[in-house]
């Protein structure tokens, strides 16, 4: 109740402040930007876009978000848009962009898209989130993917491991680590992290076609198939390799276990690379990045986007500048080299990227051509939040023993998804 009140009060206040400003005549050179990239690496990456805009004479103004984090930012955005005073643009994830597009709150930047030939250079599956009925309302800044494993190279050499190519080879490798007295799998026991790992497990167990049928098409027969049960069984196998204190651990703490050599590997999206970078570790030398065994060739992606809102005429020029700058190939390279993600354009050079970045860029191109570039269920790019969170519920309850068998897990998954539809 109280939260609702704060939200509404915020909306009212924003409306009162917002109304008088609509009348100013000359072009407004200020870009109001809502985002939650505040940590060191993220802020540094964002400043590449800020600097490029400053050169064109645009000033940048962060919209403050009380509390920080994506959840709070989305609440702020909702209040601002509801009050008719949207920011120039906002960082946005997956289906949230479509919510605003469906509500008719996004600007139409299709002309820019046509000029820049964006439809060709951005992976096709991703355009689902940037366009609605053929109209562009958002641009992707980067592409992350979740089907990676991150390995401490020193530990790997100590136990004499090699790159695992299948799920069985993965468990064999984890066994080796266990015998050597290292924590085999660094896992943060929070629902979204567990679900992120399960995305890869499902793809590895059933193949990418199965993943597509189950999670993108929500085919009920696939969801309750034996393959899905086997995926849960495989997840249960991985549970044998985590340390007993994993429940509730933050993802970056799990990554630091790998960095320090306390643990052999972590299954995590490639934002984990940022942590390695902060610790001055180098890809290929200190740590290794492989696709999750059995998922090579597919990319389970998520992406950060900038959504553009319908703003008054005097703020349009700044909006256009932001969209064009974000999609500029050089900016895409500069931004993503720092952020650790892959560029959202497939036509940029991979020269400046490290080993893992180069692989990510090549994989995205190949997967887009093969149709194996698919949205991550755990990161809200396969299904809307209501369904994705139903998925979290089942995965985390299964992993922590509230759901005891894979039969029951599959039943709960179908029931949860149906009730959330």
């Amino acid at each position: 109740m109280r939260l609702r009140l704060v939200l509404m009060a915020g909306a009212m206040a924003a409306a009162m402040v917002g109304l008088p400003s609509a009348g100013s005549a000359a072009d407004n050179k200020e870009i109001q930007m809502l985002h939650w990239w505040t940590s060191g690496g993220e802020a540094a990456a964002l400043s590449t876009i800020k600097d490029a805009l400053a050169k064109q004479g645009y000033s940048w103004k962060d919209v403050p978000v009380a509390g920080g984090g994506g959840g709070a930012a989305m609440t702020t955005l909702k209040a601002m848009v509801a009050a008719g005073n949207p920011p120039t643009a906002s960082q946005i994830l997956g289906y949230y962009a479509l919510d605003y597009a469906d509500a008719g709150k996004l600007a139409d930047i299709s002309a820019l898209a046509a000029k820049g030939n964006w439809a060709k250079v951005i992976p096709t599956a991703l355009q689902k989130f940037t366009t609605t009925d053929g109209k562009w309302g958002a641009v992707p800044v980067n592409i992350h993917s979740v089907n990676w494993i991150w390995i401490n190279k020193t530990v790997m050499e100590k136990i004499g491991g090699t790159e695992p190519k299948s799920f069985d080879e993965l468990t064999a490798l984890l066994d080796k680590a266990k015998q050597a007295g290292v924590i085999p799998l660094a896992l943060g026991g929070q629902p979204w992290q567990e679900a992120t790992m399960f995305d890869s497990v499902v793809t590895s167990t059933g193949g990418v076609e199965f993943y597509k049928k189950a999670f993108i098409d929500l085919d009920e027969s696939a969801l309750k198939s034996d393959t899905m049960k086997k995926s849960f069984d495989n997840l249960a196998k991985l549970r044998e390799y985590v340390d007993p204190n994993y429940a509730g651990r933050d993802w970056n703490l799990a990554t630091s276990m790998v960095i320090k050599g306390d643990a052999l590997l972590q299954v995590m999206g490639d934002w984990a690379k940022g942590e390695f970078k902060v610790a001055n570790k180098e890809a290929g030398k200190d740590y290794l990045c492989y696709r999750f065994p059995g998922t090579d060739g597919s990319v389970l992606y998520n992406t950060d986007m900038f959504a553009f809102f319908q703003v008054s005429a005097d703020r349009k020029a700044a909006q256009t500048a932001l969209a064009e700058t974000t999609m500029n190939p050089d900016v895409q390279i500069a931004f993503n080299v720092i952020k650790g993600s892959a560029p959202a354009r497939m036509d940029v050079s991979d020269e400046k990227f490290d080993m893992c970045g180069k692989k990510a860029i090549a994989d995205i191109k190949a997967a887009n051509a093969k149709g194996t570039f698919l949205g991550s269920m755990a990161q809200n790019y396969a299904q809307p939040p209501a369904i994705a969170t139903a998925y979290y519920d089942v995965v985390t309850k299964f992993l922590h023993g509230e759901i005891k068998t894979s039969d029951e897990a599959v039943k709960q998954l179908v029931a949860g998804i149906n009730s959330a539809k």
């Binding site: 609702r4 509404m8 509730g248 969170t389 509230e402």
Partner: protein, 315 residues
């Protein structure tokens, strides 16, 4: 204040100026209270009604007005009985019961005990009293994070005990989804029992010393004095503490999230976290609103009888 009493006490005809001043004096309290009354009317009761309205719609990310009757409540009602595997709502209710009763009972017991000890005319009371009261000055987020770190077996209590040589010591509740809710209760009790103590202490100081002397003369033991005389006398303080603790327990949100770390296994759900996640992150605003209405109704079920009895006594 009424006109009749004025007529009796002041039979002289009042001047016109005096009458205006009287009217102003009558009006002033209303004028001063009007803004806050209006704000409360809109932002508390207005939005209560708004939430009630939304709970009958199928609102998802944004409020919509497709009315679907009692469907959201039916959903919650069905979830109330899904025990194996537990639905989020079932877990929330069970945890509410566990957390709420532990929190209230231990806070009352500890608060009373501390207050009685401090009331023994001991030296250094002025130093000890704020010491117990200070935790309340912290925000729940800070308390929660501190307790999470303190109880974390890898870095906190368990490790400290092992370092001291007690290697068989084992305490991992904070990373065991089934025991997490008890850790939330521990943190909550630590924070609030000092406040309850202050309330009881004030009540103890208000007791007439004549009564205690009479009891002493009658030869009552200290224990009997407390049990038969003092505690019954401070019953109103119990009532106030109970009300405050109950609503704090139902409202807890930040404490739960910071102690449990994003709710692993869905085992640390409480009605408040349930309401927030369904309304704002799961895009099921209708269900979220229905759960908020149920929470409000629960609090009302506790508060209304209390307010009623309080107001009746005064009349």
């Amino acid at each position: 204040m009424t006109n009749t009493s004025q007529a009796v006490t002041a039979p002289i005809v009042r001047s016109a100026r005096g009458r205006v001043r009287d009217q102003m004096q009558d009006l002033l309290p209303r004028l001063v209270l009007a803004p806050s009354f209006l704000l409360i009317l809109v932002f508390v009761y207005g939005f209560n009604l708004w939430t009630l309205l939304l709970s009958f719609t199928n609102s998802r990310a944004f409020p919509t007005f497709n009315f679907i009757g009692w469907a959201n409540y039916a959903k919650l009602w069905n979830w109330t009985f899904e025990r194996d595997p537990p639905s989020n709502w079932y877990t929330a209710i069970v945890n509410m019961g566990l957390f709420g009763s532990l929190y209230v009972i231990f806070c009352l017991a500890l608060g009373l005990l501390l207050a009685i000890f401090l009331d023994q005319k001991i030296r250094g009371e002025g130093f000890l009293r704020p010491l117990y009261l200070y935790p309340l000055a912290l925000s729940f987020i800070v308390t929660g994070t501190a307790w999470k770190l303190f109880l974390d077996p890898r870095i906190g209590l368990e490790k400290a005990m092992h370092d001291l040589g007690w290697t068989s010591f084992h305490f991992d509740w904070v990373v065991d989804p089934r025991m997490m809710i008890y850790c939330v209760a521990i943190a909550g009790i630590w924070q609030t029992s000092g406040f309850v103590m202050a309330m009881f202490l004030a009540a103890l100081r208000g007791i007439d010393s004549e009564i205690l002397k009479a009891a002493q003369i009658d030869g009552a033991s200290t224990f009997a004095t407390y049990r038969r005389i003092i505690i019954p006398l401070i019953r109103p303080a119990f009532m106030s503490a109970l009300i405050i603790l109950t609503h704090m327990a139902i409202k807890s949100y930040d404490l739960v999230l910071s102690v449990t770390g994003k709710n692993p296994g869905g085992a640390a759900e409480l009605p408040s976290t349930f309401m927030y996640s369904y309304t704002f992150t799961r895009n099921q605003m209708g269900v979220g609103s229905a759960s908020a209405v149920i929470m409000l109704a629960t609090i009302a079920a506790i508060m209304v009888p209390y307010l009623y009895s309080e107001l009746k006594e005064k009349r």
